[in-house]
């Protein structure tokens, strides 16, 4: 007799642990593949999964085997041309097998890479591994938008759907016991009396018995009259709403779009912003992004315009900082939001504007933000703006960072450098 079992609904992820073990063992390889991939990827799919390939020899499991040489007898099928005593030239190793029995030497050394897929989640894990937000004092807000409900005992009021049956019946039972206690005691006495005179010996006892029986019936009716379930007994599960504190972050992307910034430079900047955005998203439940671009004057724009429209003109960096300060004051009170600033520029600035930037940053912006990073994308020497920012960095070494990078390949290392976990 055979049993037939449908296992299709059983879990299908039995290999998850083993898979995870494999990733753990080769995390070095995978990390390298991930960091290579980040540089190569187009910006739009920064956060999808990735195909990882590892050289087969690095993950092989060794075992003893025979090497080349010695005498080998081999039996092959499908003889079409040979007779005993034929001599066949030994095929050159690696030549595509055109007969001559080298098909059997299946010593094809698998030099192919071992290729497999990791998910988006895993990709991001590897991408941001060992990274942490500096000054991660998440300012939490007793939010008023999201609520969760949870049980909070029992109440006398509620909707029928929330009736707590056990509590209700227990209280009904208690009430019935309380209300009928005296009567049941009396009933018991009467029943004992009745039992004493049954069967009846004479007429007196007979009338007595009848009387008792009448009393018993009356008592029983009264006991029965006590309602089995009363409104009073109903108990309901009490659900209370409470607000969920939410951590929220806003990220300000500031970019110079003056004539000196070409598309390649903007691309570098964009990748940096994107990494930062993905990173913040993993750390906060809600992340807003504000795009501010500037030349001589600053403007808040949407993403498309931020990255792709071109303008020309001079550069006044302080205009962007002013706008950022304004927006923080208007919409993102620092006590409710975690504010991050990221600025990208090629370092050009109107000559006497740099001091103003310094003042704006130190007096208005830095006290409000968690972290502000400035990247300068230029192969040239540093200019006035960099020096002004250096001074800021001295004043706020914890919360202000500036880095210099030249090409796309620098982004990820610089990013990791900015956000690497500080030794506790």
């Amino acid at each position: 007799m055979s049993y037939i079992v449908d296992r299709r609904l059983n879990s299908k992820n039995k290999s998850t642990v083993n898979r995870e073990r494999f990733l753990r063992r080769y995390r070095g390889h995978i990390k390298k593949a991930v960091s290579d991939a980040i540089d190569k990827r187009s910006i739009t799919d920064m956060a999808s999964g990735e195909k990882i390939s590892i050289p087969s020899k690095d993950i092989s499991e060794p075992s003893f085997s025979h090497g080349e040489g010695g005498i080998r007898d081999r039996v092959l099928p499908g003889n079409d041309e040979f007779i005993t005593g034929d001599k066949i030239k030994r095929p050159q190793s690696g030549s595509g097998g055109s007969g001559h029995g080298d098909g059997a030497s299946d010593s094809g050394e698998g030099d192919d890479d071992f290729v497999f897929q990791i998910t988006q989640e895993e990709f991001l894990d590897f991408m941001f591994e060992d990274l942490a937000l500096p000054n991660l004092v998440k300012r939490q807000l007793a939010g008023n938008e999201e609520f969760k409900t949870h049980r909070a005992g029992v109440s006398h009021e509620g909707s029928p759907g929330q009736v707590n049956i056990v509590r209700t019946l227990r209280s009904a039972n208690a009430r019935r016991i309380a209300l009928t206690g005296k009567k049941r005691k009396a009933l018991k006495v009467l029943e004992e009396q009745l039992a004493d005179i049954t069967p009846a010996n004479d007429a007196l006892e007979d009338t007595c018995s009848l009387k008792l029986q009448a009393q018993i019936a009356e008592l029983k009716a009264k006991i029965k009259g006590v309602p089995w379930l009363d409104d009073f007994d109903l108990k309901y599960n009490l659900q209370v709403k409470y607000p969920v504190p939410q951590s929220r972050a806003v990220m300000f992307c500031l970019m110079d779009v003056s004539g000196s910034m070409d598309q390649a430079t903007k691309d570098v900047a964009k990748r940096f912003f994107l990494l930062l955005f993905l990173f913040l998203q993993r750390n906060y439940e809600k992340t807003d992004v504000v795009f501010i671009r500037h030349h001589t004057s600053a403007k808040e724009v949407d993403e498309q315009e931020f990255f792709y429209s071109r303008e020309t003109g001079g550069t006044i960096v302080s205009s962007a900082l002013k706008l950022m300060d304004q927006i923080i004051k208007d919409r993102y009170p620092p006590e409710e939001w975690n504010i991050y600033g990221a600025q990208a520029s090629d370092g050009d600035n109107w000559n006497d504007d740099s001091h103003q930037c310094y003042q704006l940053l130190t007096e208005n912006i830095m006290p409000a933000v968690q972290y502000f990073s400035y990247i300068e994308i230029t192969p040239r020497d540093r200019q006035a703006l960099w020096h002004a920012y250096e001074k800021v960095s001295e004043q706020f070494p914890e919360a202000f960072a500036l880095r210099h990078l030249v090409s796309v390949a620098d982004i990820y290392p610089v990013f990791r450098d900015l956000f690497k976990k500080q030794a506790a």
Partner: protein, 516 residues
């Protein structure tokens, strides 16, 4: 009015049950003795999981299974490979996995193939009877998984992983080929394990005791070598004698050894096992057709997938990758039946004792008492060699050419048969490596000997890797000599010697080390 079981290619549980009932009736008529069947329908994802754990329903965790899973998953998702239609486990009851994607015909074929073919082979073949205990394997797997998980908690994942890596590297050397084992024990395994731990540690300590034993002083002159005889079962040797292993580590070595032992018969009966199962699905399906239980369309679909299974590409075909065990096994089984039923003069000359005998009895005898190597040597007939056009080539690295030693003709049959049989001899396929000696009183170094077969050397790169694993298990220096006619041809050391002083070759080699 037809009594076909089904006419559509969609399967249902009800239909599977009816097919199974009919097939079991036929199997009974053919006197197939099987374990009860447990047929499990699974999805392709679950099939991939099963692949990764060598088909076992439970298994301990190790990265190599993850690697296998990722490989299968990648191959399957990109359409480079299909999945097997079925996996069957040598257990009691015999568990067979059927894929939900299969058609009704495939399900019936797989039931005949796995649940009656493989199943009866597992139950009847002497190797499986000796080496595996079908009723206890699942229990043992559960024990092993839990034990290893507990070790990971106690000693860390890395420590356990390293140890398993090392054990896996010499997993092929975890079997006593010449001794019969006790069956795998079941529930008492856990209880006995504690006892064993204490006992083993005592034994090992005794071996390495440095305080001189006053009674043994007179024996000192004899300097007994340890081990007294070469040991082929490396895992067993380390389990019992490695000086530095902790009790839990010995238990893990033991678990890997038990697993190796469980899979040992499967490695040696591939041709027979598949041939047997293929023969029976072929016979049973034909019988179903003869009894008018399946339609002609069903039969045609069956013939197509059957012939795909037993297709043997010739040696010069780009798809050639060795001899297809299904083809060889199936042809031989079919041929045995033919020899019994319609023997020719040639058969009477070659197989006087089975020509004309009862075919069921003869096949049953063959299935029970042979492994690939001996089965081929005993039953490969000239007709099968002619049908498959087998020929034998001799590749000697001392010659410039490869010689055709024999082909499928009168004077070649015996040579081809012998050579093919040798090809399935496990001890020729895997290098013969044994523990030769331990320097008990000196630096505790371990010496292994590889006895060359047909002058074949060890593959140096992997040997260097494996010896590192052996070093991890042993804890002291390990030397490996590859020996051909008493001359050391290759030597491997771990740790690698820092001085390049010449290695003094051992003067003699014990006579029983020269290969089989």
């Amino acid at each position: 009015m037809s009594n076909y079981i089904s006419t559509s290619s969609e399967w249902t549980f009800d239909l599977i049950q009816r097919y199974d009932r009919e097939i079991s009736v036929i199997a009974d008529d053919f006197q197939l003795d099987t374990y009860p069947n447990q047929i499990e329908i699974i999805s392709s994802e679950q099939m991939m999981d099963a692949y990764a754990s060598v088909g076992m329903p439970v298994g301990y965790n190790h990265w190599s299974y993850g690697k296998q899973f990722l490989g299968v998953e990648q191959g399957y998702k990109r359409g480079q490979m299909g999945l097997a239609y079925e996996i069957v486990i040598n257990s009691d009851p015999c568990i067979a996995y059927l894929m939900e994607e299969n058609t009704m015909m495939m399900q019936a074929l797989v039931i005949a193939h796995a649940c009656y073919g493989h199943n009866s082979f597992f139950k009847g073949n002497y190797l499986f009877k000796t080496w595996t205990d079908a009723s206890a394997i699942i229990d043992y797997l559960v024990f092993a998984k839990n034990y290893i998980a507990r070790c990971e908690e106690q000693h860390g994942v890395d420590a356990v992983e390293d140890l398993l890596d090392s054990c896996h590297a010499i997993m092929n050397y975890g079997v006593d080929r010449y001794k019969r084992p006790y069956p795998l024990s079941q529930h008492e395994e856990e209880a006995r394990q504690q006892e064993r731990e204490a006992y083993l540690q005592k034994q090992v300590n005794d071996l390495w005791r440095t305080i001189p034993n006053d009674i043994s002083t007179e024996k000192q002159t004899a300097t007994p070598t340890f081990p007294s005889e070469p040991q082929e079962n490396l895992l067993y040797f380390f389990e019992k004698n490695a000086p530095l292993l902790e009790p839990w580590q010995r238990e893990i070595v033991r678990i890997v050894r038990k697993m190796a032992q469980y899979f040992y018969p499967q490695k040696q009966t591939q041709v027979m096992n598949e041939g047997w199962a293929t023969f029976w699905h072929y016979t049973i399906m034909n019988e179903l057709y003869d009894r008018a239980l399946i339609t002609e369309g069903f039969m045609l679909e069956f013939m197509q997938s059957h012939s795909a299974v037993v297709y043997q590409p010739p040696y010069n075909n780009q798809y050639y990758s060795g001899i297809n065990p299904y083809t060889l096994g199936f042809s031989m089984m079919q041929d045995i039946r033919r020899i019994c039923q319609n023997p020719t003069a040639e058969d009477k000359k070659w197989f006087p004792d089975i020509a004309g005998s009862h075919w069921l009895k003869t096949l049953d005898f063959a299935m029970r008492n042979f492994k690939d190597e001996s089965f081929i040597l005993q039953f490969l007939s000239p007709k099968v060699m002619r049908d498959l056009k087998l020929f034998c080539i001799l590749d000697d690295d001392k010659n410039h050419t490869i010689n055709v030693a024999a082909i499928h003709e009168d004077r070649g049959y015996r040579k081809v048969r012998e050579a093919l049989s040798e090809q399935y001899n496990l001890s020729n396929r895997e290098p013969n490596i044994q523990v030769h000696s331990v320097d008990v009183r000196g630096d505790r170094s371990l010496t292994l000997h590889h006895t060359r077969h047909n002058r074949m050397p060890l593959e140096a790169k992997s040997a260097n890797e494996v010896i590192k694993h052996i070093h991890r298990l042993w804890g002291f220096d390990v030397h490996l000599h590859s020996i051909d006619e008493r001359v050391h041809r290759q030597t491997f050391h771990c740790p690698a010697p820092h001085t390049d002083q010449p290695q003094i070759p051992l003067p003699t080699v014990s006579p029983h080390l020269t290969g089989p």
